[in-house]
Symmetry: C2
Subunit: 194 residues, 2 copies
DNA sequence: AAAGAATGTCTCAGTAATGGGACATTCTTT
DNA sequence: AAAGAATGTCCCATTACTGAGACATTCTTT
């Protein structure tokens, strides 16, 4: 997906690092100047423009990267075990491990001017990513494993909120990934009445 | 704090609505063009500029508004009861009721390039607002009322994460304030091992 | 209805952000 | 060490955003 059909590993690396940088920057400031993204990627703005025609192209790549990463992580977590509770736990960890990507994905789909439409390809991809998750939740609730007082939508919001808290703790308070996962899961599992 | 020492109620209203609009917009997009803020406030960009010299002035006013609102709400919640658990509950509700203001305040202080410094007036104000809160938490933990496995910092992040989830549920899923508060408190109280 | 206050409209100059050409420099590979 | 790839430097045209003057319009108050 570079600017030509054949590209070296170097180019793939640079392209990837720009995307990662953009996800970090845009997550905090959607309209940040591209200079900041380049800076974060330790690259010149000129180089950034060699890989991405404009802001929209870059954003598109970010969204693709995010969807891919989150979707795969969720899928793997789901398939890693048969036990329903452990599945939920692994999926939570997947969210935390996706870190900023997960929080950014969620943010993009809760912008107040974002009209969620399933005929939109982006939205249906988003829905796909979390459909496994939501289906699983309904199953757990039917089994009486999680509290009947919480709605599926609330659990989804709570999930995202606690993942965000975990990511912030990791970045800001320099906590270890494992500690953050443990705390996050403790709070999340209890928070849904498990 | 308008553009003159004496100003009518109209001016205060407009100024206030611009600030509220700015908090909404900037919370989602820090570098959004001021046009968007004006639009949200149902006002011309020209009018916006009559009240605020530039972006920085507007941002300063937003921060003041936010600090004031959150600080007062927290204080009132704290003073509204003697019971330590109920205090915690009321403070949580205060956070949810402050809505975007609370989430924005938290966001501003967790930006990855934001160096938190207590000698900075803004930061110390932020610390003040949550010092009551944190002190109270330490008390609860010493009493053995909340789990010893969660750290104070984690509870703070969790608090903000669940408030954010509540605010999103309210805006996005059009849930009632009371329902959101109930769900939020259910998850938060259990999430800290209460 | 008249006076004054507040906002809107139109305009424009100044500034910042963007996208990309031309060439130099550095890095990779052989 | 030479060739080719990738990036950096410098530059410039275009566009978007900003801040404010001058005047028209609307709203408020009396």
């Amino acid at each position: 997906m570079g600017h030509s059909f054949f590209c070296s590993d170097n180019m793939k690396d640079t392209e990837q690092s720009i995307i990662e940088a953009a996800i970090l920057i845009f997550n905090e400031d959607l309209s940040a100047p591209l200079e900041k993204v380049a800076e974060q990627a330790q690259v010149t703005r000129r180089t950034l423009h060699r890989y991405f025609k404009d802001r929209n192209e870059l954003m598109k790549s970010c969204k693709n990267e995010i969807r891919k990463a989150c979707h795969i992580a969720m899928q793997n977590a789901y398939n890693s075990t048969e036990d329903p509770i452990q599945r939920l736990e692994r999926m939570f960890y997947a969210g935390v491990e996706c870190g900023t990507k997960d929080t950014f994905l969620h943010k993009l789909h809760t912008l107040h001017d974002h009209e969620h439409q399933s005929h939109d390809q982006e939205c249906s991809d988003y829905d796909d990513t979390f459909s496994i998750w939501k289906t699983h939740l309904k199953f757990l609730q039917k089994q009486g494993l999680i509290s009947p007082m919480v709605t599926i939508d609330w659990v989804h919001q709570l999930f995202q909120g606690i993942v965000a808290a975990s990511v912030t703790s990791r970045n800001n308070a320099a906590m270890q990934l494992n500690d953050v996962k443990k705390l996050g899961w403790f709070s999340f599992s209890r928070g849904i009445g498990l």
